[in-house]
């Protein structure tokens, strides 16, 4: 821009490449471990170059899991996917409905509903661990998909984003729909939701990642292997005596757990950035 000396031109590249190395190195190491035999990993220092056992390790991770775990990554991928989709789709659906009511109707409890949703921002699951656990257990939802998903599907962020968007929709459209004989729900389904594709996509990316990466809640309410998510499985694989850890299989599972959310970010990068900066600012 202003200075043009060579050093000034090269330095930014140098710093950025260095940062990428710091970010990628730990992941590379995990990848490398997931392609070697256990003996190679245990013989410090582990080779940094990938080995020849990629298919074998990933095959074992996907179909069997480690000896101590009793759940295959295939089952856990399924559980993580159900949880992530349940949370993200659930959040989007109930937020769209609630925001539609708050923006397009006038009713006595409107302000109350908005503030109620707003206050949930201040009650993350981490501060109400035990009592929420009790509610789920009283409802008989321990070890169930409903138990994994339901307490997570409130989203003040989604309501804020949709509200901002709905307020920008010209009111004449709602009026015109009404004159054409369409009821509010028809307007919602045929006009409003299709118009909201962009914010919905943005929310989906953010909330899918959020759902996929949930840890504390599944840790509390799942005890049966059948309901383990990938992250819980990884923790359990590593939570045995250090000498018994099957590193290659555990690291293969770790990589599998990273892949879906990372792909979502890379493939939907524009929606992702929009979702992050527009809702949270």
């Amino acid at each position: 821009m202003i200075e043009h000396s060579i050093v000034r031109r090269i330095l930014p590249h140098l710093f950025l490449v260095l940062a990428i190395v710091v970010i990628v190195f730990p992941i590379w190491l995990v990848f490398s471990a997931s392609t070697q035999t256990l003996a190679d990993v245990l013989d410090a220092p582990m080779p940094v170059v990938p080995g020849m056992h990629l298919l074998e390790n990933y095959g074992r991770a996907l179909l069997e899991g480690t000896k101590s775990l009793g759940a295959s990554a295939l089952t856990m991928v399924k559980n993580s996917l159900i949880m992530a989709l349940g949370i993200s789709v659930g959040k989007i659906v109930i937020s769209l409905l609630a925001t539609f009511a708050i923006v397009f109707f006038r009713f006595p409890l409107r302000g109350f509903c908005f503030w109620t949703i707003f206050i949930t921002l201040m009650l993350p699951v981490e501060v109400r661990i035990m009592p929420t656990y009790k509610v789920i257990s009283d409802l008989g939802l321990l070890d169930s998909y409903a138990g994994l998903i339901l307490p997570m599907i409130v989203s003040a962020t989604a309501v804020f984003l949709f509200r901002q968007f709905f307020l920008s929709v010209p009111r004449e459209m709602a009026e015109a729909a009404q004159i054409d004989g369409a009821g509010p729900m028809q307007f919602f389904a045929r006009v409003l939701v299709p118009m909201s594709r962009t914010p919905i996509a943005a929310m989906f990316v953010i909330q899918f990642i959020y759902g996929w990466n949930q840890y504390l809640w599944p840790l509390l309410i799942t005890t049966k292997e059948r309901y383990y998510t990938l992250l819980i499985g990884i923790n359990r694989m590593l939570a045995v005596n250090d000498a018994l850890v099957e590193w290659p299989v555990a690291m293969a599972t770790t990589l599998l757990a990273m892949l879906p959310p990372v792909l979502v970010v890379i493939l939907m990068q524009r929606s992702f950035i929009a979702g992050m900066t527009e809702t949270e600012k």
Binding site: A19, V24, P45, L97, V127, V154, M185, V262
Partner: protein
């Protein structure tokens, strides 16, 4: 707000907000109220009877050296995580925001780690620094003679979880700083360059003050992240140990509630944490302009 067209229907809006309201009351308000209520009682050893003790759980908590230690530790930890994650991200955002070749590639490469789960961040760092087989702990010992064992050495454990937590948060901060930098008018920076301000002066006098809303917003978000969302790292890497070295507040609530089954104390701790989130949220809304008023 101008008078806007609105649908008229009596029951419909209530039906529409109903699912949201059920979930909020069942899983947010009721448990939060329970925590406040239970923090006023002591449960006997068999969980059969409750005795009302008023503020005694809180009084005990703030006289408990272990709790106070965890409180101080959590603040120091959160401060370091915010400082490291934000300063590294800002530095990188400034570099990536220059007109350089491959800026888009760099941005993509620095953004995607946002999708890495906090638990996975913990696993990555734990694997690199595993005392027996970790590549970096091996290097530390062979090259620098550092005996690295975070399972025995409290400071090393604290350092490790701090670095893992910061590593994970850099991408998030980077996205916001890049967005913030793009809103800094180039004309302003160029004008000050013409006036003879060097690059350092231009950054600190012009760019940094203009970024302050982003910086402040991120500061709050980073503190919230470090306090509440890094539980998986602690749980995975150190389990709060060795000793108390990495027992942060959320981990302590979890341990006291789930394993020690001390309901009164755990509830009181939850309420303290609630107060902390509420103050951070209020701080943010007071100082960062956000259009949520009705």
């Amino acid at each position: 707000m101008a008078k806007q067209y609105e649908f008229s229907a009596r029951g419909l809006p209530y039906l529409l907000v109903l699912p949201q309201m059920i979930v909020v009351f069942l899983f947010f308000f009721w448990p939060a109220a329970q925590a406040m209520w239970q923090s006023l009682f002591i449960q006997d050893a068999f969980g059969l009877s409750l005795t009302f003790v008023g503020m005694e759980n809180y009084a005990k908590l703030f006289q408990d050296p272990l709790y106070l230690d965890s409180l101080v530790r959590s603040f120091v930890y959160a401060g370091f995580v915010a400082l490291i994650a934000m300063s590294v991200a800002l530095f990188l955002a400034v570099q990536a925001n220059r007109r350089i070749r491959g800026a888009l590639f760099y941005k993509t490469m620095l953004v995607w780690p946002y999708a890495v789960a906090t638990l996975v961040a913990g696993v990555l760092w734990m694997f690199m620094f595993n005392p027996n087989i970790g590549v970096l702990s091996y290097l530390l010992f062979k090259r620098f003679g550092v005996e690295w064992n975070y399972l025995l050495n409290g400071s090393q454990a604290f350092l490790l979880v701090t670095l893992a937590a910061s590593w994970k948060q850099i991408s998030y901060n980077f996205v916001f700083f890049v967005a913030g930098l793009q809103n800094v008018p180039a004309s302003l920076v160029e004008a000050s360059a013409i006036d003879g301000a060097g690059p350092g002066k231009r950054f600190w006098r012009i760019v940094f003050p203009l970024l302050s809303p982003t910086t402040f917003y991120l500061l709050v978000m980073n503190l919230v992240y470090a306090f509440f969302e890094t539980f998986p790292i602690i749980h995975q890497v150190t389990q709060g140990g060795p000793g108390q070295a990495t027992t942060m507040l959320v981990y302590k609530v979890y341990r006291d509630g789930v394993f020690n089954l001390d309901l009164g104390s755990s509830s009181a701790q939850s309420v303290v944490l609630m107060a902390l989130v509420i103050s951070l949220t209020i701080l943010q809304f007071r100082f960062v302009e956000r259009r949520v008023t009705y």
